[in-house]
């Protein structure tokens, strides 16, 4: 085994693995993430990030979109997005 921890970079193309599912739950009227033995209730920003984890959009593109949408400095958003994605990757919810 030569498994290594994946680290988030600007050019990373994050995606949800097959077994992690982002869904809108009608019954609860909110977005949820389904994963092995876990149900996450992501907040609004996390949902916006997760929706863009399609394996084609780079981290820097996600940051640019969110910075524009929330009219926030790119640097600040960039730090938040990288931290969140790294945490999700370490927990197996996102692949890089």
């Amino acid at each position: 085994m030569t498994a290594l921890r994946a680290i988030v970079e600007d050019g990373s193309l994050p995606r949800l693995p097959r077994h992690v599912k982002l869904r809108f739950d009608q019954r609860r009227d909110r977005w949820i993430v389904l994963a092995p033995e876990r149900v996450l209730m992501p907040d609004e920003i996390a949902v916006e990030i997760l929706k863009r984890c399609d394996g084609k959009t780079s981290v820097s593109a996600i940051v640019a979109t969110l910075a524009a949408a929330y009219e926030a400095p790119t640097e600040e958003i960039g730090k938040d997005v990288a931290e969140m994605l790294q945490d999700l990757a370490d927990k197996g919810f996102v692949e890089l």
């Binding site: 290594l4 599912k21 389904l34 092995p36 149900v39 370490d90 197996g92």
Partner: protein, 373 residues
């Protein structure tokens, strides 16, 4: 009746579907009740399909196909496909030894999302001895490879206790070797068969502390490679676990015959009556049945819990453990350091773990002996 709430409870997040209590293994800490249900009592395929329909309508998000050994049922693929088609997240909890490569492929094609494979020890002979199944270890290793080859994510479930706890590092290494992405290091819980075998299973405090160190070191070393779930034995704890995330809050359990339980050990509590699906609707049972209402929320709590700032964090701990130790399911869980019975619990753990372990009383499908005092 205390415990009534005026508003309907939130829907459950997860449902454990015990398709059968039949199992080729006879692990002495099995979470099934002592009085195992028989094949003739099991819900048939059509009834289970209806149960999943009701679960999805109620708002259940995840279904854990469990047992006994769920792969004993030839209709497992059909049930997985049905549940997945309803949008339910499907998880198979298996010992793995009845699987073959073709069946793993069929389960993946049916829409299975995840597999949780149990292992009894990293040492093959010990694993077979603890599980009471010769040749089981080798077949589990084969099954793990088929699971990963089919593209299914794998969690290795390792129940730990005094007879395998010294091998914990090797068990963690095995999880990495098998390309698991998660490991559950679950100290055995003392209900049902585990309670019956407590003196053979209870670790010493030093063993527990060492195990916790091993897990913490491995968690740091394997960050981003292997995710850890660590379930501690609460006899040595200061605060009780929030059992099931609170009674009737997030979880329900369906027995092979369709009885709906708030947790898999709930039948040990006398005077609770459990209703059955599919003849009674799951939502009706979840929202209104007296068994689910009995310990839901905080109204039922004894003063010690009701006045505690952690009452909505640990929800009074575990009702079955309160019953097993104090004789009253409505008492504070003695795992809580504030319980007047906590010292008894610690003394019990220290005394039992300090003696030579007695022989296992393996899980068997026979009528249980009268409960011991």
């Amino acid at each position: 009746m205390t415990g009534k709430t005026s508003t309907a409870p939130e829907p459950p997040l997860a449902m454990l579907a015990e398709l059968t209590h039949r199992c080729p293994f006879s692990c002495p800490y099995c979470s099934n009740p002592l009085d195992l249900e028989r094949r003739s009592q099991e819900l048939d395929t059509a009834a289970w399909r209806e149960v999943f329909d009701q679960a999805a309508a109620l708002g259940v998000l995840q279904v854990h196909f469990s047992g006994g050994e769920p792969t004993v049922r030839p209709d497992l693929e059909e049930l997985v496909e049905h549940a997945a088609g309803l949008g339910l997240y499907t998880n198979l909890i298996t010992a793995g030894v009845l699987l073959d490569e073709a069946r793993v492929g069929r389960l993946a094609a049916a829409g299975l999302d995840h597999v949780q494979l149990s292992i009894q020890d990293s040492d093959p002979a010990e694993s077979d001895r603890i599980g009471g199944y010769q040749g089981g270890y080798r077949r589990k290793i084969e099954a793990a490879a088929w699971i990963r080859a089919a593209g299914l994510p794998l969690t290795l479930n390792a129940p730990v206790h005094r007879q395998n706890i010294e091998h914990l590092e090797a068990i963690i290494d095995l999880a990495v070797e098998l390309d698991a992405e998660r490991i559950e290091v679950a100290h055995v819980q003392y209900y049902g068969w585990g309670l019956k075998n407590r003196a053979a299973l209870m670790p010493t405090r030093a063993q527990l502390e060492r195990a916790t160190e091993v897990v913490e070191a491995a968690r740091a070393r394997l960050k981003g490679i292997l995710v850890f779930d660590y379930v501690v034995p609460d006899y040595y704890a200061h605060r009780p676990k929030a059992c099931m995330g609170g009674w009737g809050r997030q979880f329900l359990n369906i027995t092979p015959s369709g009885k709906v339980l708030p947790c898999h050990a709930a039948e040990t509590i006398p005077d609770l009556e459990f209703e059955r699906v599919p003849e009674r609707d799951l939502a009706e049972i979840w929202e209104n049945s007296p068994a689910f209402q009995r310990f839901r929320g905080t109204d039922w709590m004894p003063e010690l819990c009701a006045s505690c700032e952690r009452r909505e964090i640990d929800w009074g701990g575990c009702r079955c453990q309160a019953l097993a130790i104090t004789g009253d399911a409505a008492q504070t869980d003695p795992a809580c350091g504030l319980s007047p019975r906590h010292a008894d619990l610690v003394a019990l753990a220290e005394a039992e773990s300090g003696r030579e372990p007695p022989a296992f009383q393996y899980r068997r499908m026979t009528r249980p002996e009268p409960a011991e005092a």
